[in-house]
């Protein structure tokens, strides 16, 4: 059999306890932060900050616990395509609901 160099046949990158431990620590820290921040009055920014922290946590889980940081381009693009489609669906639904009663208030 010929030598295989293309990425789909590549050896799997093994992620070690050091990376997992660091990400784990950051996730716990962010959880404490988001709960603490919820008790500070920032108006609409409470929701913005809470969701921003949630997005950072989710990104850390996807990139390191779920190995996407070390994965092939195919997998990176699969995740990206899913995220993109999800955002498009949410934006379309939201723009519909926001514009339902346009000019009627």
């Amino acid at each position: 059999m010929s030598e295989r160099n293309d990425p789909e046949h590549a050896e799997q990158h093994i992620v070690g306890p050091k990376v997992y431990g660091t990400v784990f620590g950051i996730l716990l820290l962010l959880t404490a932060t988001t709960t603490g921040v919820a008790f500070i009055d920032m108006g609409v920014y409470n929701a913005v900050v809470a969701l921003a922290i949630a997005c950072i946590k989710a990104a850390l889980v996807v990139l390191f616990f779920m190995h996407i940081h070390y994965s092939s381009r195919l997998l990176k693009m699969t995740v990206g395509a899913g995220l993109f489609t999800f955002i498009v669906l949410i934006l379309l639904t939201m723009s519909d609901y926001i514009s339902r009663a346009w000019g009627m208030w």
């Binding site: 059999m1 010929s2 295989r4 990425p7 789909e8 046949h9 590549a10 050896e11 799997q12 093994i14 992620v15 070690g16 306890p17 997992y20 431990g21 784990f24 996730l27 716990l28 959880t31 404490a32 988001t34 709960t35 919820a38 008790f39 500070i40 009055d41 409470n46 929701a47 809470a50 969701l51 922290i53 949630a54 946590k57 989710a58 889980v61 996807v62 616990f65 779920m66 994965s71 092939s72 195919l74 997998l75 699969t78 995740v79 395509a81 899913g82 489609t85 999800f86 669906l89 949410i90 639904t93 939201m94 609901y97």
Partner: protein
């Protein structure tokens, strides 16, 4: 030699008519290399997870729209949740994600004992999460905050919390929408946890018989992806249901 030639070449016969196998026993014949098999399995798992994103996405979208329509009711409903239990549960779930990640690492290192230990820890933390969730649900039952089941708007019309704003009865009724979404979303999440823990028992049983520590770790790795995905759903449920509407 390309793959077509490999596929159609007559298999060399050994005495006894058994085909010759010069590859790991877990490598399926329609894959050329173990790497390709892993990539295909990961890809398939991710496509499944994307359908799950869409499934939960619909509920998140409904939550977002109703929260905008009945904002005072959602604020009042959200403040009846126990933030201490919610934060504890978030930490428990993150710990279980860490132990699951370590289980994948142990399988990769071919350490059977460590793999089983981390699977047991993940099961334990998963059950702790479900237990705490059960305590929270029971509190809602005690408070008559389960929609439809003798739902009481008393707490929202005449709040006992001095920081709370009293709602008019029609808006107070809308807290039922908040609790419907609360039970739907946490319920669907808990169902995923129950399925996950059941699968973990199966994986633990297989691992105890030596599976997954001889190079074929795909079932462990794909289950890890599922478990982390369920963790991510909670990472978003937690701020939306518990945090963003706190009274200051």
């Amino acid at each position: 030699m390309d793959s077509q030639t490999i596929a159609t070449a007559p298999e060399e016969q050994l005495p006894g008519g058994v085909g010759r196998h010069e590859h790991p026993s877990f490598l399926r014949h329609h894959f050329e290399t173990v790497g390709q098999q892993r990539e295909a399995a990961s890809f398939g798992m991710w496509v499944f997870l994307l359908t799950e994103v869409m499934f939960f996405g619909g509920m998140f979208c409904a939550y977002l729209i109703f929260r905008n329509w009945y904002h005072p009711a959602f604020v009042a409903g959200s403040n009846t949740l126990d933030i201490t239990l919610g934060t504890t549960n978030t930490a428990v779930l993150i710990c279980s994600s860490f132990t699951m990640a370590m289980a994948v690492f142990s399988a990769e290192m071919r350490r059977k004992g460590a793999l089983m230990l981390f699977l047991v820890l993940t099961i334990f933390l998963g059950l702790v999460f479900l237990g705490i969730k059960g305590v929270e649900w029971h509190q809602k039952y005690v408070d008559h905050h389960i929609p439809g089941m003798g739902f009481s708007i008393q707490e929202f019309v005449h709040p006992t919390n001095p920081k709370a704003v009293a709602l008019a009865p029609d808006m107070a009724e809308k807290t039922q929408i908040y609790f419907s979404l609360y039970f739907l979303m946490t319920g669907m999440h808990a169902l995923h946890m129950v399925i996950g823990v059941s699968l973990l028992f199966f994986l633990l049983w297989r691992a105890s018989r030596g599976a997954y520590t001889e190079g074929h770790i795909m079932p462990i790795e794909n289950f890890g992806l599922y478990w982390h995905f369920v963790d991510i759903i909670w990472i978003f449920l937690f701020p939306l249901l518990y945090l963003i509407s706190r009274y200051q």
